[in-house]
């Protein structure tokens, strides 16, 4: 079955969310009545795994990772070839940002082979190298994860918000008021969100939704109350809501304890990728994966420890409408 790149429900949801952040949400009754008339649709989530991703060794095989990515994208977009799949997401001439997560440094960050594989497919889909921007909050974070800063020439660009700066004016939505990175607001037409699969000592987990903390100038202000409702509100900011088109969660190496710092003793080779347009569904599913691993290792669940990621339910509520945390509404495809 072929799917359109963006459904009417997604479009309506985006418009209403933007309206909410523009101060039209004072009448909650209006929004609730509109939402009630939009029946919930299922969110597609692909979980692609490869038991032989590391070829029996410790290192990831780039070839197998490319293949894994291709299968995930083809499955998500119902396409027969990877380039056809990527063309459902981006158009030639667009500038595409890849929002990686490099806070934890080498070992705990979005892996370079994955990013390379994505860059390869984007170029084949018609996005020239110089129109691809790998970005995160700080250039030093990118470098610590093994990326090389590059801001000129006909190459893939790579730099932090410290190089590109932030908008002067505040973007305000709900509990947050932040300056948004210019990489997002001015330079990118589309963003592909590339978080990692790991727990977080304050928020519970950090994946798709929290990765966008790297797009604002003051994320340190928004960890109170386990990041709730801040994480959801940040994702309501118009430039984020409108430009983030897809999340590919790097679950090649996942972490179930000690995050966001890299704690190798609490990682495991999940050898997978999670792909979705619905960041809530992805975070919810990722959380369940972590809980299962914790149970397997005889550890208390995040819920028991009082660290359940409450922000996920907030992101799914009718006010935010960022996605679904209802398993019945998640079309889960495991390949």
């Amino acid at each position: 079955m072929k799917r359109v790149a963006a459904s009417r429900r997604d479009f309506l949801r985006t418009c209403l969310a933007g309206a909410a952040c523009m101060g039209m949400s004072s009448d909650g009754g209006f929004l609730r009545s509109v939402w009630a008339s939009v029946p919930p649709s299922r969110s597609r989530l692909v979980i692609a795994r490869d038991a032989m991703l590391r070829g029996g060794g410790a290192g990831i095989s780039s070839g197998r990772l490319q293949n894994l990515l291709d299968r995930a994208m083809q499955s998500f977009f119902d396409r027969d070839t990877p380039v056809e799949a990527w063309r459902q997401l981006v158009r030639p001439g667009e500038v595409v940002g890849l929002k990686v997560n490099c806070l934890a440094g080498r070992g705990g960050s979005t892996s370079i082979p994955l990013v390379e594989a994505i860059c390869e497919r984007l170029q084949q889909a018609g996005v020239p190298a110089e129109n691809i921007i790998i970005w995160d909050r700080l250039s030093s974070d990118l470098e610590s994860a093994g990326f090389r800063i590059s801001t000129g020439g006909r190459r893939v660009r790579c730099s932090g918000n410290d190089a590109s700066g932030y908008e002067d004016d505040l973007a305000i939505c709900g509990s947050v008021g932040s300056r948004v990175a210019r990489t997002l607001t001015r330079y990118c037409d589309a963003v592909i969100n590339l978080p990692v699969l790991k727990d977080h000592g304050i928020a519970g987990v950090t994946m798709a939704l929290k990765n966008l903390f790297g797009a604002i100038h003051n994320p340190n202000k928004y960890h109170g109350n386990a990041g709730d409702p801040y994480i959801a509100d940040v994702n309501m900011l118009p430039s984020i809501r409108q430009k983030v088109r897809l999340t590919i969660c790097d679950a090649t190496t996942a972490q179930y304890e000690g995050g966001p710092s890299y704690m190798p003793q609490w990682t495991w080779p999940y050898n997978g990728l999670l792909v979705s347009r619905d960041p809530v569904a992805l975070d919810y599913t990722g959380w369940q994966i972590i809980e299962r691993k914790r149970a397997e290792r005889g550890m208390k669940s995040l819920e028991v420890l009082g660290r359940a990621p409450a922000y996920i339910a907030t992101a799914a509520d009718t006010h935010h409408g960022l996605g679904t945390n209802d398993p019945k509404l998640i079309e889960r495809i495991e390949i």
Partner: protein
């Protein structure tokens, strides 16, 4: 001005304001068009201090091991500087954004990292009972440990240090700059001095060596031990008591009320000169009940001699939807404070209002007449009312 100095000046950000002062430039100029105000006017028109320090180019120079933290397992640290007590993972920062865990050791990222510097009259802080008429060399770094929705300095207070232009000005140089600019006091202000604690303490020590006083303008969100240590190093503290309700502190400030009240008591017990600013925000902290609760608490816990400035709010930052504080509200607050027996209740940010003046609490003689930040008349004799000899609380000599 030499071209080098001009270049240094151009690198500094636009003027910022002390908490308690939200006056627009036109009103201020009208209020202070008097001889001898050149330095004040120049400062408010955005004339930055001419720093001769080299520009900030190496992060390492600003990175100094922090004080007041505990090491925990797995390279985590627990900050003990403010009541938030952030538990911070390796490579992460606390709420304030200017202190960072690196491999299990905690560092301040803003030592000697001067983001702004101006010469202000000390009345602008405001200090009305501390060395009236002196100029304060007023400084700040980036960062803050709360997030007040009305912050007038949010562009530096809510920023991380790498987001704000700054110069490397180590403590000794900062003290020397104050001396060169004929400022008998250094004011640590604009953002939140608690978060640049180490820089403040080192600078205050250098300043005292030159006979320069140190005054702190703070929200008071600090733990007892570092506060006591600060009290022994500085000369006066002005605390912004944002409200007298925990609800307001939670929703508008993102902080807590009780630690601030505890800090006020500590400052009094330590014998530091203390003044309080209460920024009156319409509809949010302007009820008579709140004013009453506040002044009764001050009278009971701090005494009647602590000056309280009920200050007019102007729309800022995340509270642009509210109007400026009506004058009637400020007058009502002052009346409640006067009725309760507080000796020095003021109205702030209303230049020309008699509520800016100091009157003898005993005979009501006008002792200090002010217009904006300018002292027009001072009629004390050795810290006492010239008429009835009633001692007037304060520090009157620089």
């Amino acid at each position: 001005m030499s071209s080098q100095a001009r270049n240094a000046a151009d690198r500094l950000p636009a003027p910022t304001h002390s908490a308690g002062e939200q006056i627009d430039r036109r009103t201020f100029l009208q209020a202070t068009a008097l001889p001898g105000l050149a330095a004040c006017v120049w400062a408010c028109l955005g004339g930055p201090i001419l720093l001769h320090a080299s520009p900030a180019s190496e992060e390492g120079r600003f990175t100094v091991e922090a004080q007041f933290y505990d090491k925990q397992a797995y390279k985590k640290i627990k900050c003990k500087l403010c009541p938030r007590e952030c538990v911070i993972d390796d490579r992460e920062r606390g709420y304030c954004g200017v202190r960072e865990n690196r491999g299990g050791t905690y560092y301040t990222l803003v030592h000697s990292r001067l983001a702004t510097a101006h010469i202000d009259p000390i009345e602008k802080k405001p200090f009305f009972h501390f060395c009236p008429g002196v100029l304060a060399f007023s400084v700040a770094t980036a960062g803050c440990n709360v997030n007040c929705k009305f912050c007038q300095n949010w562009e530096i207070s809510q920023a991380r240090p790498e987001q704000v232009r700054a110069n490397y000005v180590p403590p000794r140089d900062l003290a020397a700059l104050a001396q060169q600019n004929h400022c008998p006091a250094i004011a640590y202000t604009y953002s939140e001095p608690v978060v640049f604690y180490e820089y403040l303490m080192d600078t205050a020590e250098s300043a005292h060596g030159l006979g320069i006083k140190s005054v702190v303008v703070t929200g008071g969100y600090i733990q007892k031990d570092p506060l006591k240590k600060m009290c022994r190093r500085v000369d006066a503290i002005k605390v912004d008591l944002k409200a007298f309700s925990q609800k307001y502190y939670k929703e508008i400030v993102n902080g807590d009320l009780k630690p601030i009240l505890d800090a006020l008591v500590t400052i009094r017990h330590e014998g530091r000169w203390l003044e309080i600013v209460y920024l009156v925000v319409p509809t949010l902290n302007d009820s008579d009940a709140e004013f009453q609760g506040l002044v009764r608490w001050i009278k009971s816990e701090l005494g009647t001699d602590v000056p309280v400035h009920f200050t007019r709010f102007y729309p800022q930052y995340l509270l642009k939807n509210l109007p400026p504080t009506p004058l009637g509200t400020l007058e009502r607050a002052k009346a409640i404070a006067d009725a309760e027996g507080l000796h020095y209740a003021y109205i702030g940010n209303v230049p020309g209002h008699p509520g800016e003046n100091t009157y003898c609490p005993q005979c009501r003689r006008l002792l200090i007449e002010r217009l904006g930040f300018v002292v027009r008349k001072m009629d004390l004799h050795k810290g006492k009312c010239r008429s009835c000899q009633h001692p007037i609380a304060g520090v009157w000599q620089a």
